[in-house]
């Protein structure tokens, strides 16, 4: 076969089949339907398989992107799945929610002259096919005596848990909510990432032997210190997320109808307030909704509000679309669905009616001045530009602070902003405790949290004296183990019919490590 060149590949990026905007604002079904087989084959043909592979470096977890696309192009879809799951256990999730335009696709060689290869869409195609076909890659796992706890079942915790389970550790994931999944469940709405997809991915983690303990508020039910001592964990990973939503301190923020995007999304997504009164959690959706902020969470809040029946939905942001932190695709989708964008607009105060519900928001127009510390041009108010926007619901989506619970209940060192102080590898001030994701960096993305979880997993393996390799290896590697790991070793072969929760017949070749 002749070498592909930029002239011989399909020139146009294969479009994603989508629900019509007019239809989809009336439902919570997924907007992007996903590539059909023929779409995937055409798009896979657009990859030049270039020697440089900038996409791999652009991926926070370093997926062998040309490798899996080559498999797709060769119609070896299970092979493609194998390639992806070597580095990323959640292709269906990441293919949907990663900001590919600023990662792999942003540096794609094809993108220098044409639109870049739709890597995210292909990844999702492979992940969804794996779900449909029931594929899961449960590798051979050599049991180790080590017990590892993960605090938080969001993307950072899931990624760390998977790696530690694959390394043979007994892994328990603690979650404060009644269902695992973290922000993937409560935050990202179903029309962008169906909760059913998250559940399938969590089941795959269970197949690796990972236990999920919900309804468990670590810090208050037991502390990090207790986990390392009386509970016998050899290492703990903290991935509790940013939480704690910010407000602006405007007059009227405690009026009825004023809430954080987190509250709106949690009620709607996790608690099913959209199905009220079939589900008990209420939501009093507004008819005229203003969402302050222009990040991905703001876009989710805007589009959820439309689907909850709002007639007017306004995005209020003090800078312009160019500075908006949301993915371009999300802003585009929101525009298609009828969201009105008020760029260069800043709220001043919220006005209430006699029942103490919000009735309007007073705003002023801005213009862009000199660049500020972030390098973005600072918005400056335009004198005399004040106006009132008639609204009955105001949603704040302007970011979050660090969740305070772990800091309140442990001796863990925090940074001045309240986030957990951790080094590049996720090691914290407490021996055996690692942290990663939003609780270390502040609000970021799903894939960055997963990357941090994986990085911490490598560090934990090194700390436990486990070789960091995907290969089968034997022998006890607990040279660096603490006295508690020796205890754990005694208790290790608890259930020999289901070692690590994996039925023996599913892993008939396994040698069981009996201490």
């Amino acid at each position: 076969m002749a070498k592909k060149t930029i002239r011989t590949i399909p020139q146009a990026r294969t479009p994603m089949p989508e629900q019509d905007p007019q239809v989809r604002v009336g439902n919570f079904d997924e907007v992007a339907r996903g590539y059909r087989l023929r779409d995937a084959l055409v798009e896979a043909d657009r990859c030049l398989d270039c020697a440089d592979q900038p996409c791999v470096r652009g991926c926070p977890v370093g997926i062998d992107i040309p490798g899996f696309i080559r498999q797709v192009a060769g119609k070896n879809f299970h092979g493609a799945y194998d390639v992806i799951t070597r580095t990323n256990l959640l292709p269906s999730v990441c293919g949907r929610v990663c900001p590919q335009e600023s990662q792999c696709e942003g540096v794609c060689t094809v993108g220098e002259s044409l639109e870049p290869v739709a890597i995210g869409r292909l990844e999702r195609f492979v992940g969804d096919m794996a779900i449909a076909q029931g594929w899961s890659n449960v590798p051979y796992i050599e049991p180790q005596p080590h017990k590892v706890a993960i605090v938080g079942s969001g993307p950072a915790g899931m990624a760390c848990a998977a790696d530690m389970a694959k390394a043979g550790c007994r892994v328990t994931v603690y979650e404060a909510f009644h269902e695992p999944g973290g922000v993937l469940k409560y935050g990202i709405p179903d029309f962008r990432l169906p909760n059913a997809v998250v559940d399938v991915e969590i089941d795959k983690l269970r197949q690796l032997g990972i236990r999920f303990e919900c309804n468990t508020l670590v810090g208050r039910l037991f502390t990090l210190e207790q986990m390392l001592t009386e509970m016998g964990y050899d290492a703990v990973f903290v991935g509790t997320g940013a939480g704690y939503p910010s407000f602006m301190g405007l007059a009227g923020e405690s009026l009825g109808g004023v809430l954080s995007a987190n509250e709106l999304l949690t009620r709607c997504n996790l608690m099913h307030a959209r199905d009220f009164p079939r589900y008990d959690t209420p939501l009093q959706p507004g008819k005229r909704v203003a969402v302050i902020g222009a990040g991905n969470t703001a876009m989710d809040a805007l589009r959820v509000s439309l689907r909850l029946g709002a007639e007017k939905v306004y995005c209020v942001y003090r800078r312009t679309a160019n500075e908006a932190p949301a993915r371009a695709e999300e802003i585009h989708h929101a525009q298609q669905e009828g969201v009105e964008f008020h760029w260069l607009t800043s709220p001043l105060e919220l006005l209430g009616d006699e029942a103490h519900n919000v009735r309007a928001m007073r705003c002023e127009r801005m213009e862009l001045g000199e660049p500020d510390a972030s390098g973005r041009r600072r918005p400056v108010p335009l004198a005399g530009s004040g106006f009132e926007l008639e609204v009955d619901e105001v949603v704040f989506a302007i970011g979050t602070h660090a969740n305070p619970i772990i800091g309140q209940t442990s001796g863990l060192k925090l940074d001045p902003r309240g986030y957990i102080a951790a080094d590049e590898q996720g090691a914290t001030s407490m021996v055996g405790v690692y942290a990663g994701g939003d609780i270390v960096t502040g609000a970021a993305t799903v894939i960055k949290a997963m990357g941090a979880g994986r990085k911490a997993a490598r560090a934990i393996k090194a700390y436990l004296g486990l070789r960091d390799t995907e290969r089968v290896y034997g022998g006890s590697a607990s040279a660096a183990g603490s006295p508690s790991s020796a205890q754990a070793q005694d208790q290790a072969p608890a259930d020999t019919d289901r070692p690590f929760g994996i039925p023996r017949q599913e892993r008939g070749f396994a040698r069981i490590h009996i201490a």
Partner: protein, 290 residues
């Protein structure tokens, strides 16, 4: 891991009932002033309930619930002995600060009204155990609604019961009880008040001019209870606090109760819809027999 089984149930009146839930791990961890969030069933909402008692030996958490909305009425109807809650997470919130700095016994008034009577109990007991002179002030609408009087007598040096109609104890609100205690004890260090916001507001207003430190326990609207939703934000002095992780205890003289009460009304219309639907469901279930 607990399966949240109900091991004891007692009904104190036709609205107030007690559930003792098995959760040994939480019983070990719980401290006075903390709360839990429960879900009665998979379609249920998450509601915060202050821990009314915990028994480390029995491994149980005690909740006292007033059946006032759809969720609590369903709990009253369905959560019999041996039933299970769908979820219970906790203990949440910062434990109450019992403030025995120098170790010298202090004089504390523990005020509980309505649904606040039960959660003030562990506070009274903890103060007693810390060596304080404890004056209990309990408020009920009438004699028939009184519960836990003996439990309180066991941990209080004095107990003042107040009823709205005067059918037991002194006639009047708990603020009358506070004033009676203040008249007899000029050296009260602290008042701790738990109950409906209007009652806590009254207590704080009563003690403000007397210069007695007054702690209140707030129970605003919450979803997760871990600081994530911000639904429970309250104005305390100049700042905005989240009751779930910054509280639930705050200085009563600093709390903006009017603001709190208005925020609590937000979901009243939806609660009515829920109740109405529940009523229809009951009627439909009942109709074939009728």
């Amino acid at each position: 891991m607990s399966d949240f089984e109900i091991v004891t149930r007692e009904d104190y009146s036709d609205v107030t009932f007690m559930l003792e839930v098995r959760h040994p791990q939480m019983a070990r961890a719980a401290k006075p002033g903390q709360f839990v969030i429960v879900m009665a069933h998979a379609q249920g909402e998450r509601i915060p309930l202050t821990i009314a008692d915990f028994d480390r030996e029995r491994g149980t958490i005690t909740l006292v619930i007033q059946a006032v909305g759809k969720t609590t009425l369903e709990m009253q109807r369905d959560l019999r002995l041996g039933a299970h809650l769908h979820a219970m997470v906790g203990p949440m919130g910062v434990p109450s600060h019992l403030g025995t700095t120098s170790g010298t016994p202090r004089k504390v008034v523990c005020v509980g009204g309505g649904l606040g009577v039960a959660p003030i109990f562990p506070q009274a007991r903890a103060h007693k155990e810390a060596g304080a002179y404890v004056i209990g002030v309990l408020g009920f609408r009438n004699r028939g609604l009184i519960f836990w009087e003996d439990k309180f007598r066991a941990v209080c040096d004095e107990l003042i019961v107040c009823t709205d109609d005067g059918s037991a104890g002194i006639k009047g609100l708990v603020t009358a009880g506070i004033l009676q205690a203040v008249d007899q004890h000029p050296d009260i260090d602290e008042v701790v008040a738990i109950g409906p916001p209007i009652m806590m507001k009254g207590c704080a207003d009563t003690t403000r001019s007397l210069g007695i430190k007054t702690m209140v326990s707030l129970n605003p609207v919450m979803v997760d209870g871990t600081g994530m939703c911000g639904g429970c934000r309250v104005k305390v002095g100049e700042s905005v606090k989240f009751a779930c992780v910054d509280g639930p205890d705050f200085d009563g003289h600093e709390v903006d109760f009017d603001d709190l009460m208005m925020r609590l009304n937000r979901y009243k219309p939806a609660e009515k819809v829920s109740l109405l639907k529940m009523g229809e469901g009951c009627r439909m279930q009942g109709s074939p027999k009728a």
